[in-house]
Symmetry: C2
Subunit: 385 residues, 2 copies
Amino acid sequence: MSQKRIAIFGSTGSIGTQALEVIAANPDMFTAEVLTAQTNDALLIKQALQFNPNTVVIGDEKKYLIVKEALSHTQTKVFAGEKALEEVACLDCYDMMLAAIVGYAGLKPTLCAIELGKPIALANKETLVVAGDIIMRKAMEKRIPVIPVDSEHSAIFQCLVGEGRNKIERIILTASGGPFLGKKPNFLVNVKKDHALQHPNWSMGAKITIDSATLMNKGLEMIEAKWLFNLTHEQIQVVVHPQSIIHSMVQFDDGSIKAQMGLPDMKLPIQYAMAFPQRILNNFPRYDFKKPNTLSFEEPDIKTFRNLALAMEAMRQGGNMPCILNAANEIAVYAFLKNRIGFLDMTEVVEQTMTKIPFIETPTLEEYFETDGEARNFAASLIHM
Amino acid sequence: MSQKRIAIFGSTGSIGTQALEVIAANPDMFTAEVLTAQTNDALLIKQALQFNPNTVVIGDEKKYLIVKEALSHTQTKVFAGEKALEEVACLDCYDMMLAAIVGYAGLKPTLCAIELGKPIALANKETLVVAGDIIMRKAMEKRIPVIPVDSEHSAIFQCLVGEGRNKIERIILTASGGPFLGKKPNFLVNVKKDHALQHPNWSMGAKITIDSATLMNKGLEMIEAKWLFNLTHEQIQVVVHPQSIIHSMVQFDDGSIKAQMGLPDMKLPIQYAMAFPQRILNNFPRYDFKKPNTLSFEEPDIKTFRNLALAMEAMRQGGNMPCILNAANEIAVYAFLKNRIGFLDMTEVVEQTMTKIPFIETPTLEEYFETDGEARNFAASLIHM
């Protein structure tokens, strides 16, 4: 079997660096063909020197010369800027894109890869939240698989292997509940960034860790799942499972439930998506059922964690509403991370933006882009950014 | 799609009657083509009048005339006696055998069906415990599937759909622990039949309910799993899970675990085995994760429930040792059900028989039959039956 050439869009983030660990551990299976970073030139250079990719892109154009200089003695091509991300995504030099750019910025390169007919390992849930209908329709047309990297969606994807997609009764997304499980608004109002960044189970990037603390992450995952698995909103259930051992479940129409489980470790779903349909032997730590232990389940508290209720509402309404939700949320989370607004203010920003931006039932891609821009501007104006 | 003609060997038992409920609920998918019973002529007649099978067999020859007379106005052929079970199993008038005869008696008809090239829905674990190597080799030669009906093995089978069989790291069989979970020998010594017949989660026949109370059932299931899924004894782990919601699990060699779950209801695995590779929509009650609930896990207490340790030892030794274990256990359980011996005496009977009957490393089918007879005789002599 020849090596699979991976283009990692977002190679210096949490998913990207773990994907490179997987590639380093399986040099007979994978090469890193494209690496891209937004601002972290130092790590991008280090990665390029180790993995010797065909091409690297640094998003921040001011850092082009630094990267170019550092790699001048290598064969690696260096590009810079947002436009270059798209152009490189359109180059037919890789076999699979790992779409690991955080947020809305991951959308356009992913669309390029799909147009090119490349399988997608999708770690960027915003791509589907914003424009899931267009993405999945294009992927269907091009007959390319979109393999989720999110642990929950990877779990569902794994549970569906060998099963009929039309036999899904519902999916059950598990949520850890985040660091503030069981807390009430009078506690949350005072939560600061450092506290919210301490996730009990998963080691992830800053944006997704805040989204986990507000439960917005689970709401985005519901929308992502709707598109990935072609479900109605009634077929998607969220259950709080604080131990994060069951990563998610599928209930089939005969009542049988399949779950995928394991210790929380993002390397497993990353590796699974990259190697699918194979599994790769590894020595990651195993979950030990012999130790006395319990797995617990409860309903999410959507009265306290209102972001989840807003996401459910956006999913129910459809159209450009999830795009509005996502754009406002990105602005709100970054404002919170900069200590500009409080924890509960994030919900206010999202809710007000959802009320303000005009609803479009069946947006075009251009209308999604416009909606995104309008929602960001309005959300930023609320914060006086 | 034409209907699948099912031959139910053991139609009046717990599995058989539930299989007929599945057939009655799905008349477009299944017909009951053969029904057999050991002694329950009244129920066999009733079933034959309802399902209009091609053939029925009553094991107890004294009841032949009763059954023949009752069905004389129908097209159904009536046979009697143990030999007739085998002969009917060899008739090419059905598409799948549901092997639901309890105990060793199910072995020979199952072998006939395999020789005939008929897929097996296997509810009779003793068939594999006694002669799993021969059964599975023949099934492999004939390229017919052996689809388990036991909830645990059905769970594993379902988890393996679409996965590589060579990617199994281990399987984790869950055990409810039975009605005496947490009890110690000083309690068990006084246990009576009526108490042991009250299983906390599952509604099953008497033999298997006692085997569940002693944990011998889990031991037999380990051996069954070894053959069904071509595993080494080191790859099979038992975990006590008192809620019986997770029916069993597979851990793959990338560390990912798949579990199959649901409310304990034997109709689901029966239906799954009969309909495989399809799933049949039904309205069986669903497990509700929204209610606060916990699933717990602990190691089995094999010092107290020594039957499980004996079964593990028989599996480890291989050869005719599982056959010896099974034969002695059948004698011991029926003696206990007749109040001839105590609860802990069952273990003594099995252990002594395992020590006494000569070990054969690679038995022929004839040697299995001989071993079975010798072990039964010896076990019976211990009980003075």
